[in-house]
């Protein structure tokens, strides 16, 4: 027998474990062991070894691995394997009520919960998936059962996978919570339930940075397989998660819900920041505390789906998100189509974040033998605030998420401001000299270069007819490219390949190629319709439009891919009646495949993902592009906010920021704002004064020679938010910390206070130098020209010479080697 003193010590030890914090435990032990130091010593030893003991048991949980001996020792193993598994026991709970829900049918069962299809009667009648937590669930055995990394487990959650939960149930009643289903399918025989059990998992080491974990689940009755995939990027602290759903049944399976990812989190509070907006007001931050119930951020507009809200969010635990402290998650769906992010806070304060394609109107029929692969959800986490979350996304994007992320970007000049639709060959060529004079690397010919019978001379005709307008450009595109090249600049072109105008040869030939619904008048938007990419002939056509433009004209080395409308009438003359709901999914997969072909076949062509501005900004499409167009709003005052919003997920090297006359702000202010991203211009050079031309030329030279390396490849630190301050401030620090650039934008009149840079090497000494000053002016920055160590700079800051609205300052910090 265990002796009495050990027994007493065990009692106190077990009771002490109920105390959560070390301080609470000390108080408890002071009372329980009063006057008995030997007892206290024994209990403390037990407490000390307890967590180590837990780990030891977890590491050594026994499991069977394949071994020749055990397999050969049994005859008839194949026979056994053919026998179907036993069925789940009938459940006595059916028909029972839990709160406002009536249990209709058991959908599945996991290690710690049972999921029912339930009916909610009030306030609305609807069917929901209801998860009831089993009592007495043993968290550790659940973890061990899946035996995958803890991190991987915490990142996944499907209705039929045991969750890692504190059950926290009392004898008085089982806790329950209601969830949007992550996966819902109707099987070939009409059965609407799915049960998924763990089959196997593998962890593949892709390289020193990347590992891919695949967790295979299967319905015990149906040949229906679900694989959870997690790709972990160790250096960037980023995980991509997606789900593969495979149907091996005899007939089609209907997928009603098919989320990419649904992690479960636990914290006191959750603060969600969404990035919403509209045309010209993109990526506006809006933060709120999540309350019990389901909060849904979504898009239902099918294509260029981020117009009203991007498919990315910041989720802060316990407190509103801060830049440099606190636990923060960042999430971003790699999908240009409709999406849904549903945030459920349950009564135990757990949060489930269900993320994926929006199931609204997108039911998908999976044929026998087919696999449906959801888009990937990108996650990162930091306990050092959302600033680090952004830097994780940025580093990941530069290495894995975009094209040529570790190179540079050309400075381009666009003709739109100068000409709009009114140009010909002579006018365009005349603009090349202006571009050259300003120091641009590239000239971009915008909308209006194509169409003959339905010439594109305004926005009402010609889309779809991607042949050069021979009246306007009689020598063709290669001639223009050669003219540009002769002046030492590259040549690029605008395309909107997914669209068609009713006034076009294409529409006259193939009206059935446009997206639309039977018996409904076509709903025109900007006079145009979208093409139905679910139709193979249309996919071929769209690809040929691109290929026939680029291949015969190798001088074109830049493509601006525009898309100016979304889907309001989802309908296809190609898809059968029963598969109309496939349109938007088929569309976006086809779109991504065409984009990927563009990247593959034309590696020398730099590509901008443009969609009227902000309409298509996601890492699904960006994979095949170099930059995106954040907004048609180029008023630098508004751009400070728009760029601030997008910077939470997308690095400066992806953001096309152009200097224009919009808003009539000071030219230096416009330049300083655009230089914090990928600088370009949309200016009518002929209308600039010689002083303005000199200012722009000097700014571009500075950007190319000194700033671009740091801003495009460095780490971003957001210092002062324009949402909370009369000014905005940010800095970029090169990967080796030897160079930094600080930007300050004054948005309201205010006294100038010090701005404190971050991310510097505290030991390194930096020479402070204000740049982009008006010709002949000296810096009013007190510390200009001084050499100061990083620690002092970060502690005391620099007082920028900005007090009045639209004053701005760019300060270089050059480390001494």
């Amino acid at each position: 027998m265990i002796d009495a003193s050990t027994q007493r010590a065990e009692e106190v030890f077990y009771a002490a474990l109920a105390e959560k914090t070390a301080a609470e435990r000390r108080v408890f032990l002071d009372g329980a062991c009063a006057g008995d130091p030997a007892l206290r010593a024994m209990v403390e030893e037990m407490l000390d070894s307890q967590s180590e003991a837990d780990r030891f048991f977890l590491d050594s949980l026994p499991a069977l691995k394949p071994s020749a001996e055990i397999c050969q020792s049994v005859a008839g193993a194949d026979e056994l394997a053919k026998n179907p598994d036993g069925e789940i026991s009938a459940d006595e709970d059916l028909g029972k009520r839990i709160g406002p829900y009536k249990l209709l049918q058991k959908i599945g069962e996991g290690g710690c919960g049972v999921v029912y299809m339930a009916e909610q009667e009030a306030p609305v009648r609807r069917r929901v998936a209801l998860k009831v937590i089993k009592l007495g669930m043993d968290t550790k055995s659940v973890i061990a059962r899946f035996e995958a990394e803890r991190q991987a487990l915490a990142m996944m959650d499907h209705p039929n996978i045991a969750r890692v939960l504190d059950a926290g149930a009392t004898e008085a009643g089982r806790p329950y919570f209601v969830l949007e289903p992550a996966l819902q399918a109707t099987h070939a025989d009409g059965n609407v339930s799915t049960d998924l059990i763990y089959v196997r998992h593998e962890i593949r080491v892709v390289d020193t940075n990347i590992s891919l974990t695949r967790i295979e689940l299967k319905d015990p009755v149906y040949p229906f397989f679900v694989t959870l995939c997690l790709k972990a990027y160790a250096n960037e602290d980023v995980i991509e998660q997606w789900t593969e759903i495979r149907n091996q049944e005899n007939g089609a399976v209907t997928l009603e819900h098919f989320a990419s990812s649904a992690p479960l989190l636990h914290a006191k509070e959750y603060w969600l920041t969404q990035f919403r907006g509209d045309y010209r007001r993109e990526a506006t931050l809006s933060e709120e505390k999540l309350t019990p119930g389901t909060k849904i951020l979504d898009s239902k507009i099918g294509t260029r789906a981020s117009r009203y809200r991007i498919a990315s969010f910041i989720l802060s635990l316990n407190e509103p998100a801060k830049e440099d402290s606190g636990e923060v998650f960042g999430g971003s769906l790699e999908w240009p189509g409709s999406y849904q992010m549903a945030f459920d806070v349950d009564w135990n304060n757990h949060l489930r974040a269900l993320c994926g394609i929006n199931p609204f109107g997108e039911e998908y029929h999976l044929k026998p033998g087919e696999t449906f692969t959801t888009p990937a959800m990108l996650w990162t986490w930091s306990n050092e605030g959302k600033g680090q979350v952004s830097r994780n996304f940025h580093r990941w994007a530069r290495s894995y998420g975009i094209r040529d992320g570790n190179t540079s970007r050309p400075v381009l000049l666009n003709n739109w401001e100068a000409t709009e639709f009114n140009f010909d060959e002579k006018i365009i060529v005349s603009l090349f000299d202006g571009a050259k004079e300003l120091g641009a690397d590239l000239f971009l010919l915008d909308d209006g270069w194509f169409g003959n019978r339905h010439a594109r001379t305004n926005d009402a005709a010609g889309l779809g007819d991607w042949q050069v307008n021979t009246n306007r450009l009689s020598h063709g595109l290669s001639y223009l490219a050669a003219q540009a090249n002769q002046r030492g600049i590259r040549f690029g072109i605008w395309l909107e390949p997914e669209m068609v105008d009713p006034a076009s040869d294409l529409y006259e030939l193939h009206p059935e190629w446009a997206i639309g619904q039977p018996h409904r008048a076509p709903d025109l938007f900007r006079n145009q319709l979208g093409l139905d990419l679910s139709r193979p002939a249309v996919r071929d056509f769209v690809w040929r439009s691109i290929d026939d433009t680029l291949k015969p004209n190798p001088g074109i080395t830049y493509l601006k891919w525009d898309a100016n409308r979304y889907v309001t009438q989802p309908g296809s003359t190609y898809l059968p009646a029963g598969e109309q709901s496939h349109l938007l999914i088929d569309y976006n997969f086809a779109l991504l495949s065409i984009m990927s072909r563009l990247a593959k076949d034309f590696p020398q062509v730099t590509a901008m993902l443009c969609s009227g501005g902000g309409g298509r900004v996601d890492y699904g499409a960006l994979k095949y592009f170099h930059t995106f167009w954040p907004s048609d709003n180029t008023d630098p005052r508004d751009r400070v906010f728009i760029q601030w919003g997008f910077s939470h997920f997308f690095p400066a090297i992806t953001m096309s920021d152009h200097v224009t006359k919009m808003g009539n702000r000071p030219l230096k202010f416009a330049l300083d704002v655009a230089m914090s991203g990928t600088l370009g211009m949309d200016l009518d050079v002929s209308k600039l004064s010689s002083g303005e031309r000199a200012t722009v030329a000097a700014g571009i030279a500075l950007y190319k020679n000194e700033l671009r390396d740091v801003t495009l490849r460095g780490d971003l630190y957001r210092l002062e938010s324009p949402y909370d301050h009369p000014r905005a401030a940010l800095d970029f620090v090169s990967p080796d910390s030897s160079r930094a650039v600080l930007f300050v934008y004054q948005l309201q009149d205010a006294a100038n206070k010090a701005v404190k840079p971050r991310g510097l090497n505290p030991q390194m000494r930096y020479r402070v130098h204000e740049v982009n000053l008006p010709a002949g002016e000296k810096s009013k920055l007190a510390d200009d020209g001084k050499t100061i160590d990083g620690a002092t700079l970060m502690r005391d800051g620099l007082v920028p010479p900005c007090q009045k609205e639209f004053e701005s300052s760019v300060i270089e910090l050059a480390g001494e080697k």
């Binding site: 071994s67 194949d78 036993g86 061990a144 593998e202």
Partner: protein, 185 residues
């Protein structure tokens, strides 16, 4: 009707059939199942005991039998059978690891750690034998949870104690076993 059901029913009627008769049947079934499952698996895959034990119950008895007493007998025997299978497997692999296999290994491939998971299972089992002498009820909780992967609730119903008692036994037993094992490592 399977032999196992016959035995369980006999025990239920108070007949002189014993758990000793149950054990070899359950043991054979578990090995059968393990082999069948493994035959379909790729290398590197592992089988969790809890899945096997529950599957064996479904196959041998099925959900027709809802009496907790029968489940308790069955799972008690299954846990003991599973323990034997796991220990056999760990011993075999531990022997191979420590030179029994006579296999030539590249020195670069050898792990630095000298205590493998299989060794740990064996060490825990040794310590568990000592716990069985000192505190049989607590040792039984360990067998059921550690080797058969049963939940606190299942163990509580089998032993006729509260879940809290099961949890206390489990937490204290882990701590006790770990301190015994630590001296061996």
């Amino acid at each position: 009707m399977s032999d196992v059901t016959v035995i369980l029913q006999a025990i239920g009627r108070g007949e002189e059939r014993t758990l000793d008769e149950l054990l070899p049947l359950v043991y054979a079934e578990l090995r059968h199942l393990a082999a069948a499952r493994m035959a379909q698996e790729s290398a590197g895959h592992t089988l969790q005991p809890t899945a096997l034990v529950h599957e064996a119950w479904m196959r041998l008895v099925g959900d027709g039998d809802r009496t907790w007493k029968n489940r308790a007998y069955f799972f008690g025997a299954a846990a003991e059978a599973m323990r034997r299978i796991l220990i056999e497997s760990a011993r075999r692999k531990s022997r191979l690891k420590h030179g029994g296999g006579q296999e030539r290994l590249n020195i670069a491939d050898l792990e630095l750690s000298d205590t493998t998971p299989d060794d740990k299972v064996l060490l825990i089992n040794d310590a568990l034998e000592r716990l069985e002498a000192e505190h049989p009820e607590r040792a039984r909780v360990v067998v059921l949870k550690y080797f058969a992967g049963l939940t606190n609730k299942e163990v509580a119903e089998m032993l006729g104690v509260s879940e809290r008692t099961v949890d206390r036994h489990w937490v204290c037993a882990k701590e006790w076993l770990f301190r015994k094992v630590r001296t061996q490592m």
